[in-house]
Symmetry: C2
Subunit: 265 residues, 2 copies
């Protein structure tokens, strides 16, 4: 077998998330990829993603690996897969990698972006599936949001920002930074979340907290207490899935190589 | 009656264009607006747009006017309309204007943008409805395209770039400029078309010519000949609708006031 690394973009709107579901439980990105790969390989193919994204969450560069038969290794994978995949999934890169490369275990970091629609009164129709419309709360207290975001950086137990249904051993994660991007246009506000790894719905929960702070419903100090207490029921609500997009998965220190991590999700 | 000016954004993907069609011939933006207005006015309302956009063409700021009964003049039109309109249309501004304001006859200029997807190999799924994917022709000869675009500026008879089905008196139009915008990202190339007015499918035909030149299938001089000969059958094909977006309608010299033009479309 030959191992191929796939970098995949998708519009999460019409997907029940990345991960394969039981039959009848909705189409998934993994399912679409495995179906196309099975046709090209002439046999079943299992795709391993760097991480699961929820229903409605988008990706610019999700990473996955798959083992294909030696005899097919020379296929132009990107072009061949794109010819078979539905319109809302696109392979943006495909490369043969060493057989010990693992999309999930070798990942050393992930970058997500969350986009808020902040213009009051109206939203541009085509932005609906890709933003959380908080225009009715404008203007948000940006300084308070920035102050709150700074609290998230570093090693913390993010138990309060993890949704039920997860089975991780520890809820401590190293967050490199949560920051507001320079404003591309005055209608939207984009937040960047960079960490070694994230818990289930952690980004959406952190974003929910930031918006509470922006609205003046909570102070950064309140969110600090939630983080310290570690209880989900004290935390603000989860931000909607559509505003979230997986931007990059990092491998190795330089983001190019790969090394095996021990249990890091 | 009180005249209200509406500025409207829409995603053209699922519309048979701006203009009202015969029943059963597809939903239109004008139709959606008139339906919502009729409910708010308690009587039929006729919407006059600054110009028609084709099926699949989008708008960031189409302008229209409508006369509403005095008794309803005080309604918060933007909010009230947005509450009734479907997700792919949004009123971004509404204002009471003098009764002699006319969205179409007073328009002194229009700005369109056309977006090309230029990255070879793959396209980001959510960009499909908003771009023309010319990635397979990359790299385009940008210098030749710029040279060709410069030919379009000024007063010209654009008969060769007008599609059938139009009933205008003259096909001469003043084009202020056709220019490539500074590249926002390396995957897309955005062209801006600014003119006093455009003929039917003129922007899409000019864009088709620019791409022919970018591919090396035609030289700028060939396009100059097409323009001079004035025959549509010599011109390159029409660019797809989805890449086109109406960005602004200008009124008066400062783009704020309004003056009556004589027959300018």
């Amino acid at each position: 077998m030959t191992r191929v690394r796939l970098t995949v973009a998708y519009d999460g709107t019409r997907f029940a998330g990345w991960q394969l579901q039981a039959p009848g439980m909705g189409r998934t990105v993994q399912g679409c990829l495995e179906e196309a790969l099975a046709r090209l390989c002439g046999e079943a193919a299992r795709v391993h993603g760097a991480g699961r994204t929820d229903a409605g969450v988008h990706a610019v560069a999700q990473v996955a690996h798959v083992d294909v038969p030696e005899a097919r290794a020379g296929l132009p994978w990107q072009r061949a897969l794109n010819a078979l995949l539905p319109d809302d999934v696109s392979v943006v890169d495909a490369a043969v990698v060493p057989p010990d490369f693992h999309a999930r275990f070798d990942a050393s970091g992930k970058i997500y972006q969350y986009t808020l629609w902040t213009r009051p009164g109206s939203i541009l129709p085509w932005r609906r599936p890709y933003v959380w419309d908080v225009g009715r709360f404008s203007p948000l207290d940006v300084a308070a949001m920035d102050a709150c975001a700074a609290l998230f950086a570093g090693y913390h137990d993010f138990a309060a920002f993890q949704n039920a249904g997860s089975s991780v051993k520890t809820s401590t994660r190293l967050v490199h930074g949560v920051s507001r991007l320079p404003q591309a246009n005055s209608d939207e506000m984009v937040w960047r979340f960079h960490a070694e790894g994230f818990l289930k719905q952690m980004v959406r929960n952190l974003m929910g907290a930031l918006v509470e702070v922006g609205r003046g419903k909570a102070a950064p100090e309140d969110i600090r207490s939630v983080l310290t207490l570690g209880q989900r029921r004290h935390a603000p609500r989860t931000a909607p899935a559509g505003g979230l997009c997986l931007m990059a998965v990092e491998y190795g220190n330089a983001g190019r190589g790969h090394k095996r991590h021990l249990g890091q999700n």
